[in-house]
């Protein structure tokens, strides 16, 4: 149960909470403003989670519709972005479960929590890994970074996106993902370690990380 003091605190602190209070009173203008403020960030996060742009936009609209349907019951207990991304996390999780049930070809998970994390060998197959080490251009750098993100499991990816691009604290990410702050700390440290191991060859020598796929050791195994 959210106390009046807590609600008042966030109303004072967060302009997006104030907008949502107007949406609660059926203000279409306020709702449009909230959508406009968050649509790019929300679609970007969902795109990195589900991998498909069109699906990310559909899911983002689903998130906004859930926000709208819940407007009369809204009571601020956190920043608006924390609540929004809690809904986004739930929508993305549901979408992944539905997609997993429909998949004909299953990716082989490294463990029960790494249901969509890719090992280095899979990355080599997915990328242009057969090419020799050479000067990498910006497009390939982007490709490498996306592959590095793909090497994370879904929870790690979500935690990284919320930390990096939404600037959320561990406590806020924990609230959005319905985990403990300690679990978030662990997720992020493992994610950073995984990103480091994948990207370090590029950072040091400008090499594509999959150039050494044949020599991949346990250091490159996903978490």
């Amino acid at each position: 149960m959210i106390s009046d003091t807590t609600a008042e605190k966030y109303i004072q602190l967060d302009p997006d909470v104030r907008l949502m209070m107007e949406v609660r009173e059926d203000s279409a203008v306020a709702f449009e403003e909230l959508v406009s403020r968050y649509q790019n960030r929300l679609v970007a996060v969902l795109h990195h989670l589900v991998g498909h742009r069109d699906q990310a936009e559909d899911l983002a609209q689903e998130v906004f519709m859930r926000v709208f349907r819940a407007r009369h019951r809204y009571r601020p207990g956190s920043r608006f972005s924390t609540w929004l991304f809690t809904i986004a996390n739930n929508v993305a999780s549901n979408a992944r479960r539905t997609l997993a049930r429909r998949r004909e070809i299953q990716l082989k998970p490294a463990d029960s929590q790494a249901s969509s994390a890719w090992g280095l060998e899979e990355l080599a197959k997915a990328a242009s890994g057969q090419m020799p080490a050479r000067q990498l251009d910006k497009a390939e750098m982007s490709e490498i970074i996306q592959l590095a993100m793909q090497s994370l499991n879904e929870r790690q990816r979500m935690a990284v996106l919320l930390c990096k691009f939404e600037g959320m604290s561990y406590a806020e990410i924990a609230e959005s993902m319905e985990l403990s702050p300690q679990a978030i700390k662990s997720l992020l440290s493992r994610a950073r370690g995984q990103l480091r191991s994948i990207l370090e060859p590029y950072l040091r020598d400008g090499r594509h990380p999959t150039d050494d796929a044949s020599d991949a050791t346990s250091a490159f195994q996903p978490n």
């Binding site: 059926d26 279409a28 709702f31 449009e32 959508v35 406009s36 649509q39 790019n40 960030r41 679609v43 970007a44 795109h47 990195h48 990310a56 936009e57 983002a60 609209q61 906004f64 519709m65 709208f68 349907r69 463990d111 029960s112 929590q113 910006k138 750098m141 982007s142 970074i145 996306q146 590095a148 993100m149 990284v160 930390c163 990096k164 604290s169 561990y170 700390k185 662990s186 992020l188 440290s189 493992r190 950073r192 370690g193 990103l195 480091r196 994948i198 990207l199 370090e200 950072l203």
Partner: protein, 169 residues
């Protein structure tokens, strides 16, 4: 039930410590200790630099450039939601979804009804046959000795063996 996490290797423990430091999620005492290590251990410093650099590379991830059409379509969906409130049928189905005990009670009642029909109807049919044959059952001895209904009718018309028949009854 979540699987317990595997213990951290020494490398992972360093990453955990430095990650929390980079995210500003350590208290003052821990921050002082980490900064002490950074100042005196080159390997520690290098590890921090690589962690930070790989984190910064994420800025190269493609962003999203949704335009006004996305905003308009989303707001239109919300407006449609207001104009078309849920139907009574969907209200009923939502009530059932909200109150699972209603569904359970309905299932139990339906089970009783089906069971009653499955047992009672054949029983009543069997009883009906029995009632229909009651006269035969009650006068079995007469029919047994007479061996023919037609013959009994003839005897009755002639008034023959009336006393013997009464004794049998």
């Amino acid at each position: 039930m979540t699987k317990p996490e595997t213990p951290l290797t020494p490398d992972q423990a360093i990453d955990a410590e430095l990650s929390a430091y980079l995210d500003g999620e350590v208290d003052q005492a821990a921050r002082d200790e980490i900064e002490q290590k950074l100042s005196s251990h080159e390997v520690y410093r290098e590890r921090l630099q690589v962690l930070q650099a790989s984190w910064d590379l994420l800025d190269q991830l493609p962003g999203s450039d949704t335009d006004e059409s996305f905003t308009r379509s989303t707001v239109a969906m919300a407006a449609l939601h207001i104009e078309q409130p849920p139907t009574s049928e969907s209200l009923v189905s939502r009530q059932l979804a909200r109150w699972p005990w209603l569904r359970l009670g309905g299932c139990i009642a339906a089970s009783f009804l089906v069971g009653f029909v499955a047992i009672a109807v054949p029983t009543r049919i069997a009883h009906r046959h029995a009632v229909k044959d009651l006269e035969l059952i009650q006068n079995f001895e007469i029919y047994y000795y007479a061996d023919s209904e037609q013959f009994l009718k003839l005897l009755d018309e002639e008034g023959l063996f009336a006393e013997e028949l009464d004794e049998l009854l």
